[in-house]
Amino acid sequence: MTAPLLAATNLRKRFDSRGRAVAALDDVSFEVAPGETLALVGPSGSGKTTAARALMRLTELDGGEICFDSEDLLALKGARLRAVRARLQMVFQDPRAAFNPRATVARVLDDPLRIHGIVPRAERPEAIAQLLQRVGLSPDLATRAIHEISGGQRQRVAIARAIATRPRLIVLDEAVSALDVSVRGQILELLLDLQRSQDIAYLFISHDLGVVRAIAHRVAIMDKGRIVETGKAAEVIANPQSSTGRALVAAAPKLRHGA
């Protein structure tokens, strides 16, 4: 077995809610291998988004360790943290909220290339055109403002921005949940294509088991800040052992035939 790309160990985080301490993460551990998709699945408030935010260092943990690409992620600061951030990217549910709406597509993609010093200035327009093509968009889109393009196009731009820094892991937080179903399939295909060609690992956060089954290798089911079940996606979904797993399977919308 290859060494994990990401190892999160004993993550702990408590929030104060109406005077009561609520455990958002209660001793959570998981690993992601290079090129693998691990889905974190659970009801609202189960802690899956807190786990993702902790990985991105958007939330400070009360305890635990995160080892990413052989580095102690929580100990990094300054330039070394920035260097790791290039290899660890995130795509959010609502691409509208993730961008400056008045920025052009080119500007959005220029930022990571410039900040991380990946492409010299003179070559950036060409690099941006290539990124757009990589996610199935026309390079002509570069001059358009973010608010002018469709939701599906915007999520493709978010993915282009994430892959611009050649990441090894992308955290996808409900990244296809707000998309129309006809667009969702195309975005999932794009993510798989990028994974195969660039060996990118995904931490795929979702409450939709149908999508998880389609895209994830393994799944960890969370409830009330704990991982209650983990295993191969198809196996866990076919035969869930935890009560939360069974509830999620029972609640997944199913086409009613022969009505």
Binding site: S182, G185, E189, A233, A234, G258, A259
Partner: protein
């Protein structure tokens, strides 16, 4: 069964930026008493505009062609009294500075002519009907003290407070996780059956629609593409667009997109 709502050749255009955009074109269907009709479509399909047009909530300046008729009523329908509306975001339909009890009781006072005391009793009964734990203390709670699922239960209690003949649920479960979504769908089914309400269930999720609806209407680009019994739409769709929506559904029996060796 009697016809509760007739939509005939309905068209809606919005005006803005000096041009007119047609968002609903030539839409006709009937909704019978006690019937559950799902309206399915992607963004821009006109499904929410349809709901707003039926509720008379279109923004000023909208142009409306055609007719929405209520054959059982001999007057104009009154929102809250004749139809209840549940939106995607319960926070937008609840007043954050009023207690749950006040806002539901207000509906009972306005539309049923109850005294405050009777209206509060009515509100407590309704909170029980939507299965909110401890209705008596929920009456005194404010919306922010409840979870998203509980707030949607309160919004439903408010929508049905005057026993309307029609309940419109516009993406009412889309912001909730799947477990809470399934609970709310079960609740809607139960309430509609108990009160003989008609239900207009607006959703982007054709599988969810097939679970709750007697009939499904598929919308695209402002037009009604196809309408039929839920079973016919799922098992024998006539239109290519309906077939594509069904094909795009990702259920628990959909094959993985990963290479077979990756999931073995």
């Amino acid at each position: 069964m009697s016809v509760r709502l007739t939509v005939e050749k309905l068209g809606v255009s919005y005006r803005g930026d000096g041009r007119e955009t047609e968002v609903l074109k030539d839409v006709s269907f009937e909704l019978r008493a006690g019937e559950r009709l799902a309206i399915i479509g992607e963004s821009g399909s006109g499904k929410s505009t349809l709901a707003l047009a039926i509720a008379g909530l279109l923004p000023p300046g909208s142009r409306v062609d055609g007719d929405v008729r209520w054959p059982e009523l001999e007057r104009r329908p009154v929102n809250g009294r004749d139809l209840g509306f549940v939106f995607q975001d319960p926070s937008s339909s609840l007043n954050p500075v009023l207690t749950i009890g006040e806002q539901i009781a207000e509906v009972a006072r306005a539309h049923l002519g109850r005294s405050w005391r009777e209206a509060y009793e009515h509100a407590e009964m309704l909170l029980g009907r939507v299965h909110l734990p401890d209705p008596a203390s929920a009456l005194r709670a404010f919306p922010h003290q409840l979870s998203g699922g509980q707030r949607q239960r309160v919004a439903i209690a408010e929508a049905i407070a005057a026993r309307p003949g029609l309940l419109i649920a516009d993406e009412a479960t889309s912001a909730l996780d799947t477990i809470v979504q399934a609970e709310i769908v079960r609740l809607l089914e139960e309430l509609v059956a108990e009160d003989g309400m008609s239900l207009l269930f607006i959703s982007h999720d054709i599988a969810l629609a097939s679970q709750i609806a007697d009939r499904i209407a598929v919308f695209r680009h402002g037009r009604l593409v196809e309408i039929g019994d839920a079973g016919q739409i799922v098992d024998a769709p006539r239109e290519a667009y309906t077939k594509s929506l069904l094909a795009a559904h990702m259920g628990l029996d959909t094959p993985s997109l990963l290479a077979p060796e990756a999931v073995a």
